[in-house]
């Protein structure tokens, strides 16, 4: 990294830039959440609404900026960065995959089973 030990130059400008970026992303999310454009709701990508994919991607983008700029992950060594970020991402993806698959399976059982759940 360019400035690991001598990171004493002020980066207030970058901090404010990141703040404006995060605010802009949040505003876009809220606007999309309120108007819910029909074509984004109707289009389905990998069994989820396109709108939801957009929300998730924007969220990860925000998370990237918070971690890299605010938590200064960009200034840490590659070893620390990888051991924290990759571990987290791997385990979270695994957990999400397992649980959502199982949840969808149970939904199918409820829907196609012989018992009625609506009474």
């Amino acid at each position: 990294m360019a400035h690991d030990t001598a990171h004493h130059e002020s980066n207030t400008k970058r901090i404010w830039n990141v703040f404006w970026l995060l605010s802009a992303i949040t505003i876009v999310e809220v606007i999309l959440g309120i108007i819910k454009p029909a074509f984004l709701v109707e289009t389905t990508v990998i069994s989820m609404k396109l709108l939801n994919w957009i929300f998730i991607i924007l969220t990860i983008w925000k998370a990237y900026y918070i971690t890299w700029a605010f938590m200064h992950m960009e200034g840490e060594t590659a070893g620390l960065r990888r051991s924290v970020v990759w571990t987290g991402i791997f385990l979270v993806c695994y957990l999400i995959f397992i649980l959502l698959t199982e949840g969808d399976y149970i939904y199918e059982v409820f829907k196609s089973g012989h018992k009625s759940w609506d009474f």
Binding site: T5, S23, G33, V84, L91, L95, L100
Partner: protein, 326 residues
Amino acid sequence: METTVIKTGTDDKTWGGGNEPLKVSYGKMMMWFFILSDALTFSGFLAAYGFSRFKFINSWPIADEVFNHFPFLHGVDAPMYYVALMTFILIFSSVTMVLAVDAGHHMKKNKVIIYMFLTIIGGAIFVGSQAWEWKNFIKGEYGAVETKGGQILQFVDNEGHRVALKDIAVTLPSVRVEHENKNGIWYKSGEGLPSYTVEEIQQGFMQRKDLLIRTQILTESGEKTILSREASLDKLNKDVIGIVEGANLRHNEYGSPLFANFFFFITGFHGFHVFSGVIINIIIFFNVILGTYERRKNYEMVEKVGLYWHFVDLVWVFVFTFFYLV
């Protein structure tokens, strides 16, 4: 005697001691790994939320309809405005925190004090907002009825606007009274009576011809199904067993009780993190004022507590998405 540093002759070697493998102090590295483990805890909660949501994918409550309050705007439908505001407050307090860390690098004590103070204020406002959000959720707005199978039925008029229980119910002479301490020697407190009985709602529903029942089942376009007048009457008279007002861990007028459980658990756990973050920030804030870090000649403690604070913000970004947007 002169103090001497013992030289082992291995200082310049990798395993000679005093080496920082990841070029970062012990405290900061451990803060990072604590954050990693805490992130996995939150992921566990959010993934469990996802599991339950996928399980009831065709009847999950619509967040826009649940969280649509804004302070001083009574009866105005303001979906998500308030949560968006809360998100801004938290992001902004993250910014002041990172500015405090930056000022710490330059040993500017007064700037650190100001920015830390702003961060604490932001955190306190956020926790307060969350409490207000909880209050609205617990109190409920329109009320609903519950069927034998635990399904929630809500009332709408023929234009699709929600109708509150108090606008439906007629007053009937009630035979049930709440059991009170003064009425018995053996007193065991019972459940409080709901404001209306099922009969009052059924009578009122029959008198108002414009009313319909809205079930939890989502249509293709993602809206709740509204039953016809005949089906509504049939459902109300046959299946309904109780009144639900507001939300708690067992009943939830907005839909699946699981939604309420996860809401209380996840936002509660996050709120607890914000609260402890505020407390830790206050401790560090006083240390800064007392000049502890000035004497130590570095402000790394501010940086460490800053990491925790940003993490709280990071979690909120995900909670915001999965609870309010998706």
